[in-house]
């Protein structure tokens, strides 16, 4: 068989296209849900940490460290194969979503918290002197400045984590990679893999370019 027949087989690609397209939708949906939940949870934890309640903060730091130290695939496998032991079965989608959300939450909390700490103490003092209470100071004065500083590292981290959506293929989630692989094994032809690869590039090259732009726009100087 010629190279094109093997790797760019039109007949196989035609079969694969609708399935990879379905996988594409699943990947995008998963990525969006992970970003929304992960960033919200991370910001929430950083806000809770700002209250500086010792016992609670130790717990937050431990959770953050845990999800920064464990490989995402290990978390996914653990949730998918472990939770049924508690009588709780998660679908591949739910297990992947929950795992990546926890990982993004941990990284986002760390970055938001570093941002909050980086706002000079004078900002707190000034706001309190103006008669603002703790929460309005945090939300109206400190967080807007902190979040702006955290945008470049947060963007890069978020991109790195949503590329982990492909890990869902390991627990039977039909995202791009798994859909492509299923056609490969049905027809013993690798063309769908190249189609899947192209789908990832179509999805992530704009995202990476956007990340590059954000980095220069909000230059993160040392």
């Amino acid at each position: 068989m010629s190279f094109t027949e093997t790797f760019l087989n039109a007949r196989i690609l035609a079969i694969a296209l609708p399935r990879v397209a379905e996988g594409f939708v699943v990947t995008v949906a998963l990525a969006v849900l992970v970003v929304l939940a992960g960033l919200t949870a991370g910001l929430g934890l950083a806000v809770v940490r700002a209250f500086r309640l010792r016992a609670l903060n130790l717990l937050i730091v431990f959770a953050v460290d845990l999800f920064r130290a464990l490989p995402p695939l290990v978390i996914i496998v653990l949730l998918f194969f472990g939770l049924p032991g508690l009588g709780l079965s998660l679908s591949g989608f739910a297990a992947t979503w929950l795992s990546l959300t926890l990982v993004l939450m941990a990284f986002a909390e760390e970055i938001f918290w570093a941002g909050i700490l980086a706002v000079p103490a004078g900002q707190w003092d000034a706001a309190r002197a103006m008669g603002l209470r703790f929460l309005p100071t945090l939300f109206l004065v400190v967080l807007p400045q902190a979040v702006r500083m955290t945008i470049p590292p947060l963007t890069n981290r978020t991109i790195a984590i949503i590329k982990g959506t492909a890990l869902g293929s390991v627990v039977g989630m039909y995202e791009i990679l798994a859909s492509a692989q299923s056609v490969v094994s049905d027809h013993y032809n690798p063309s769908p893999l190249l189609l899947g690869a192209a789908a990832y590039l179509i999805l992530f090259i704009p995202v990476v370019t956007f990340g590059r732009w954000v980095e220069t726009r909000f230059a993160w100087k040392r």
């Binding site: 130290a69 653990l78 194969f81 980086a118 791009i176 990679l177 590039l201």
Partner: protein, 222 residues
């Protein structure tokens, strides 16, 4: 079955311990291959990025963006399942090494590049005026300062590389996660996966702690 028997079944963990240790050794070997390869490749990329000709610079930027956009698992599956169709049979270990070189060198490359670009031009001019050659200036003046400045990012990326070795389980390379999955599927008990997660956590937690300190220092010093 009780919670402990399901998730922390000591008899099962004990039985699985030898293969878990064999898996850990494979993870260590993978790390020892992937990290130096990635660092060297990344350094090469960063140096090429500083080339005066755009015919060198642009392909380098394209390379970096391409492999940052490509999920590493997809790259790995493409190499492992795709190349045999082209008549190239590589062992799982070699596939993983190549995939990691392509992926991690682009991340390390971006870090080195940022470090080099942040060194003031005066350093280079001073070195030239002292009679140092171009390579000597780079090696003895620019790089030592650049590496020190981006050390937290280098450590952070290295942590990500170690965690990433877990995806090698997908191409049946018997590293820690793969062995834990094997033990789990034989015993129908998730304890080996819990044990593997604990091993990852114990080994990587110190690195996460160190990183968290360095990151806070970097942000506080801005």
């Amino acid at each position: 079955m009780s919670f402990a028997e399901t998730f922390l079944n000591l008899a099962i963990i004990q039985a699985a311990w030898p293969i878990l240790m064999a898996g850990l050794w494979m993870t260590v070997k993978l790390t020892l291959v992937a990290v130096p390869l990635g660092l060297l490749g990344g350094l090469g990329i960063a140096l090429l990025h500083g080339a005066p000709s755009r015919w060198v610079r642009w392909p380098v930027i394209a390379y970096v963006d391409f492999f940052r956009a490509f999920p590493p698992l997809v790259l790995l599956v493409l190499l492992y399942a795709g190349l045999p169709f082209a008549g190239i049979e590589l062992s799982a270990f070699v596939c993983v090494a190549i995939g990691f070189l392509l992926n991690t060198s682009s991340y390390y490359g971006e870090i080195f590049r940022a470090g080099i670009e942040h060194i003031p031009a005066g350093q280079k001019e001073a070195a030239y005026s002292l009679g140092l050659s171009k390579p000597k200036t780079m090696l003895l003046v620019i790089l030592p300062q650049a590496v020190r400045n981006v050390l937290p990012d280098l450590i952070g990326n290295t942590l990500e590389v170690v965690k990433l070795t877990s995806i090698a389980s997908v191409v049946a390379l018997p590293e820690l996660l793969y062995q834990a999955r094997q033990a789990q599927s034989v015993t129908y008990n998730p304890s080996p996966i819990v044990a593997a997660a604990a091993i990852y956590f114990v080994l990587l937690w110190p690195l996460v702690r160190l990183l968290s300190r360095l990151e806070h220092k970097a942000i506080a010093g801005r």
